[in-house]
Symmetry: C2
Subunit: 292 residues, 2 copies
């Protein structure tokens, strides 16, 4: 099977901020696209552009050659794939299933194995790059699964991302995304503490960024979220509540392999305090609020 607009019908489950942009690229490339999402109104925009609404996962799964899922929590992923009337129960053998949600590596393996029994090849393919990366088709896509299937799906990945790598077998995409989030977690604590220190010591934080942003302290977080923190702009690029979800998956996964991650644990507990204070829908840079 060659994946192309001429040969392939694509199904997309989950048309939130990220999924809407990602599915849009597939539609724009000329694919027949069927969509399902829990809150129907979130599919209105993509349906106006030509996507076909399906009332259930089963009706969507029965019509498509490739199914892409981009939903919220691992529990959502689990019910969509493994639940009654879910993908594995209802998709035809040979359908390829690609979960792009950031979810549990262990669940990705479970889905891969359950799907394999019904001859449904599955990939885990979480992304980084946020809403802007999704909109511009420049996401990093970290993939776990079989190489042959990865190669087959590449024409679709190419529409959504730029840095697309097969990291290994099932679960490896999710593990790589966890590695990504673990760097960011403790790193964000450092950036927020540093800018709080600069503020409290009477320095001009913008001038401090000019001294430290391009050297050994330099990071995407410091140089992209630092200026927003200084302006008091805590609008979400990436939601606090989503980051807490990711850190919970990472900690559980690290514990399963006997790895201690004190920096990650600290970051998660700080973010939980922040969420309890009512800032769960702020962007991750709002951690600064807790320190100043």
């Amino acid at each position: 099977m060659e994946i192309s607009p001429q040969h392939t019908v694509v199904g997309f489950i989950g048309t939130g901020v990220m999924g809407n942009s990602m599915a849009g690229h597939i539609l724009n490339a000329g694919y027949e696209l069927h969509v399902y999402t829990r809150t129907r109104s979130k599919a209105d925009e993509i349906c106006k552009k030509g996507a076909i609404w399906e009332e259930t996962i089963a009706s969507l799964a029965g019509k498509c050659h490739v199914l892409i899922t981009m939903v919220g929590l691992p529990t959502d992923v689990e019910s969509i794939y493994l639940g009654k009337e879910g993908i594995i129960e209802t998709a035809s053998p040979g359908t390829i299933a690609v979960d792009m949600t950031t979810s549990s590596p262990a669940l990705a393996v479970k889905i891969y194995e359950a799907a394999a029994i019904r001859s449904i090849p599955a990939l885990d393919a979480p992304v980084s790059g946020g809403d802007i990366g999704a909109r511009n088709g420049t996401l990093s896509i970290m993939v776990g699964g079989d190489e042959r299937i990865f190669e087959m799906v590449m024409p679709l990945f190419d529409l959504m991302g730029k840095n697309i790598l097969l990291q290994g077998g099932a679960g490896s995409g999710q593990h790589t995304k966890m590695a990504n989030q673990i760097v960011i977690a403790a790193g964000m604590v450092g950036v927020c503490e540093s800018l709080a220190y600069a503020q409290k010591s009477g320095l001009d934080p913008e001038l401090v960024l000019k001294s430290i942003g391009s050297g050994a302290a330099g990071s995407w977080t410091l140089n992209n979220l630092g200026p927003r923190i200084i302006k008091g702009d805590f609008a979400p690029g990436f939601y606090v509540r989503h980051f807490i979800k990711d850190m919970a998956i990472a900690i559980e996964s690290a514990q399963e392999m006997g790895l201690d991650t004190p920096g990650l644990a600290l970051a998660k507990s700080l973010y939980e305090t922040l969420a309890q204070q009512g800032y769960e829908n702020d962007g991750t840079q709002a951690l600064y609020r807790l320190l100043i």
Copy 2:
């Protein structure tokens, strides 16, 4: 007073790895350079190139228009400046004193004030960029003190660095350097935890770096020290024991201003454990040893 090789005699105290390279640039530019360092053998190299050895701080201070210090601990800085036969006691009025050691902001203010009474203008001007930055003359220099003095010393700073900024009054250079180290401290925890996670989960860490190094997790630490960690190369760019010194200054300084820095505190305690295990002369990336 214009600072130039024709008009200015420079004194340099502390010719360790960093100081030796920095003093070398001043010598190469044609300045008459007098040097003093606690361990005389460490000045052999620069003296062979034409620097003039002085037996005491007092004899050096009496002969030079600008004094630069680049030593170890805040206690060293304190005794060199404020101690008996130290710079403030022995330098002629009008001599400019520039401390480039990473040291305490509060001490920098104390030195500035004590020096001012004897008409010795003082700057705090710590650097970042490490041994390579010192060798290549590409250090970031973060300066605190009076603008007029900063401008006067610029010809010398220009020989040693590239990103040279006056951050504010006395102590502001040290505060900025602390902000720099605070970002790095928690950030290093995140990088080491992430690579330990990648390793333990059976991923190929080099391939993981290709997925995560250029996105939102990207940082100088991840992209420069990550490859060394993966190779098991823990040779010092920046020593564990020096980093612990810096973090101790930062924590003390943060406490003085009532700022809580849990990420910095965690990093310091992890590094202290690492040092207790005998790795104090490894590079900072050796934190990885503690996690794997």
